[in-house]
């Protein structure tokens, strides 16, 4: 198969995008390969009821 693309004139007025997030791309132009991965995790056990947040502390990390 031979893949042929003809790009003629492209004139656009105004673009309004509310926001671009989580590995998304807003591109005006030409590209070849785009690969976007996004993992999003909000399982039921993410809901914690109580005063303490059981966050595993990172070892050997100094905030400098």
């Amino acid at each position: 198969m031979n893949y042929t693309v003809h790009n003629y004139g492209l004139d656009i007025g105004n673009i309004d995008v509310s926001s671009v997030a989580s590995s998304s791309v807003f591109l005006i132009g030409d590209s070849e390969t785009i690969r976007l991965y996004s993992y999003y995790d909000t399982p039921p056990e993410s809901l914690i009821i109580g005063p303490f947040v059981p966050i595993e502390q990172e070892e050997g990390f100094t905030d400098e």
Binding site: L10, D11, N14, S22, S24, Y39, I48, P51, I55, Q57
Partner: protein, 123 residues
């Protein structure tokens, strides 16, 4: 592949955060990544310690196997070498996202977000 010129009169973006970028011009390769642990609480208070990404499975999970690259014999004819856009408006970009005015060969973006919600009492 020959990439067209982009002509834009004005761009207005409010903010860029967390590995996001605003790019004017051409690029060969872009690989933004971000890892986020987002904790939502009822009371605003600073968590002193740093969370350990390795203790959550979402950050350990392997990517699905990539598709084999396509090798189509392809020809691109640009009958006009310009893409014209009057104006772009956006509130913002976040978490390994990109807003680009121009051409790019390869983009590999990767984000992982873990959410935790903490409530003081049973609702």
């Amino acid at each position: 592949m020959n990439k067209r010129t982009v002509v834009t009169e004005s761009v207005h973006v409010n903010s860029f955060t967390i590995s996001s970028g605003f790019l004017i011009g051409d690029l060969e390769r872009l690989t933004p990544t971000s890892r986020v642990i987002a904790i939502q609480r009822e009371n605003p208070e600073v968590i002193e310690e740093n969370a350990d990404f390795n203790s959550y499975p979402i950050f350990q999970r392997e990517l699905p196997p990539l598709l084999p690259p396509l090798s189509l014999p392809s020809v691109f004819h640009h009958h006009r070498n310009e893409i014209c856009v009057d104006s772009v408006t956006s509130f913002g970009a976040s978490t390994a996202s990109t807003i680009q005015i121009g051409g790019i060969s390869y983009i590999d973006a990767h984000s992982r977000v873990k959410h935790i919600r903490v409530l003081s009492d049973e609702q």
